[in-house]
């Protein structure tokens, strides 16, 4: 598992990377009421704004953590955004991306570094 400074987690399983937001982020955002996901098949570049989350407090963007192609999105969290608060690092993943350049993930934090980051 890798982590970004934008509070995303990335889980690389056989070349397909599942992306979601961390429990810390979900807790800080508060109750999530709306999620908008990218279209499967879309090509995205690192730092593109590809997901919108609205919590009871405000809207936030989630940026593409790496370049690649979106291969699948989690419609279940669009139907029931509260799932993101319930299980952010499990069932409530956001999208799966096929990386264009796996080495982009090398710069990301591991779990220990992320824990230190959120301190």
């Amino acid at each position: 598992m890798k982590f970004t400074e934008e509070h995303e987690w990335l889980d690389d399983v056989d070349g397909i990377v599942t992306v979601g937001i961390t429990a810390h982020a979900a807790e800080q955002l508060g109750d999530i009421v709306f999620v908008e996901l990218p279209d499967p098949g879309a090509s995205v570049s690192k730092d593109d704004e590809i997901v919108v989350i609205e919590s009871v407090k405000a809207a936030s963007d989630i940026l593409a953590p790496i370049d690649g192609e979106i291969v699948e999105v989690n419609e279940a969290i669009v139907e029931d955004p509260a799932k993101v608060n319930e299980d952010p690092e499990g069932e409530a993943w956001f999208f799966k991306i096929r990386p264009e350049d796996v080495s982009q993930m090398d710069d990301l934090m591991d779990e220990k570094e992320y824990k230190e980051f959120i301190g």
Binding site: E6, A25, F34, E54, A58, A59, S60
Partner: protein, 401 residues
């Protein structure tokens, strides 16, 4: 998510709403930007209790206030509607006025002289151009009036009152203000202050208790039955703990207070109403009783306001239900259709309504677009999304009249 919370997912982009209120205002619609040191902020008599209960404290209108507790905004909101919620509203201004009721009528377009003893009424301070300087509660307590004004406006309101009423104005500085709201409010408070059960909506009374004299009104700002309770500051903490000892009661922060008032169709000063909106535009004409329209018409801005009451105002505050689940937040620009370049209005408050289970907004539209059922389009992140003009409140009030 805002920088105020110490975490940013790529940067919050909520239109207007998340960058702190445009003006000082008195509720938790926004999570205010942490723009000054917490040490500059005033603390209420319940500060220790908030911290003990795990509240997230934020600066609000010069006070350090709880925006939410561990329960979270959504559950706090729903709990208030299902049982009872306790709110610390001590930041609001409490003022005693020792003058004849008519004297206040020079500043408000409200029938104060006709307000019976033991009764309270919603009111507005207006300015010479018909704009709203603040909204407030006015209670007749026999030999004096008791006012509750918005926190951010309190200083200005008191100066405004003193300019016209001089020494009659006595700010109350040693009392906290709690609100207990929801269907279980009555049975909970009645165990502490017998007598409150007999009160009806907008009654006020002084009720002796173990916590000293409580100045109680049967009112609030959530659309629920409930009470506002003014208590000596030294007794505020024990009173709050006594109320919280009842299983039905949870503490509720400014976040849920905002979604509750918005579902109830109630205005937030500085956001939905201000000096650029008249009472008629804000659809608050009901607060101007007939006698102030026909006889005692000497109030600030009367020429503008009376003309609008007779002939209509060019724009009107409306409720809007956005299609889908995406909230249309404050600042969202409204258009007549999907392509027209010219805006016709703006959203002033917008959030997700936990009880109505969907997004809800309030905003201003031209009078000819303000009819319920009209579809308008809000620009949300560059996409025009439809929203339907809807009668307010979004959720009917449950006041005990």
């Amino acid at each position: 998510m805002t920088p105020a919370e110490g975490i940013t997912i790529s940067g919050s982009r909520t239109e207007g709403a998340s960058n702190g209120p445009k003006r000082p205002s008195d509720a938790g619609r926004d999570i205010p930007v942490r723009d000054r040191a917490m040490s500059d902020l005033k603390r209420t008599g319940l500060y220790e209790l908030h911290v003990e209960l795990g509240a997230r404290m934020v600066p609000f209108a010069g006070w350090e206030m709880p925006v939410q507790y561990p329960l979270g905004v959504m559950k706090e909101h729903l709990h208030t509607r299902a049982a009872a919620g306790l709110f610390d509203v001590s930041h609001m201004g409490q003022v005693i006025l020792r003058c004849p009721p008519e004297a206040l009528e020079a500043l408000v377009p409200v029938d104060v002289a006709g307000l019976a003893e033991g009764r309270q009424r919603y009111g507005l301070f207006t300015d010479e151009s018909g704009g709203i300087l603040d909204d407030l509660m006015i209670a007749n307590r026999g030999d004096h009036l008791f006012l509750v004004v918005n926190a951010a406006m309190a200083e200005r309101d008191i100066a405004h009152l003193r300019e016209h009423l001089g020494d009659a104005v006595e700010p109350v500085t040693n009392r906290a203000l709690l609100a207990l709201q929801g269907p279980k409010a009555e049975e909970t408070l009645a165990r502490i202050a017998p007598g409150v059960a007999e009160m009806r909506f907008m009654d006020v009374a002084v009720i002796p208790s173990d916590f000293g004299d409580l100045w109680v009104s049967r009112s609030g700002y959530t659309g629920e039955d409930g009470y506002e309770i003014s208590v000596e500051e030294t007794n505020a903490d024990p009173l709050a703990r006594a109320i919280l000892a009842h299983d039905a009661v949870e503490t509720i922060g400014l976040g849920a207070r905002d979604s509750l008032r918005l579902e109830a169709g109630l205005c937030l000063y500085g956001t939905d109403i201000d000096t650029t909106t008249t009472p008629v535009e804000a659809d608050l004409g009901w607060a101007i009783q007939k006698v102030r329209r026909t006889e005692r018409t000497d109030f600030p801005g009367a020429d503008v306001i009376l003309d609008q009451l007779a002939n209509g105002a060019p724009r009107k505050r409306v409720g809007l239900l956005p299609e889908g689940r995406a909230p249309m937040r404050a600042g969202t620009v409204l258009y007549a259709d999907e392509t027209d370049a010219d805006p016709i209005g703006t959203i002033t408050s917008g959030a997700f309504g936990p009880s109505i289970e969907g997004p809800m907004s309030m905003g201003y539209l031209p009078a000819d677009r303000a009819t319920p059922g009209t579809t308008v389009y809000g620009d949300v992140r560059g996409k025009r999304r439809p929203a339907t003009v809807t009668p307010l409140p979004f959720r009917p009030a449950t006041y005990k009249r």
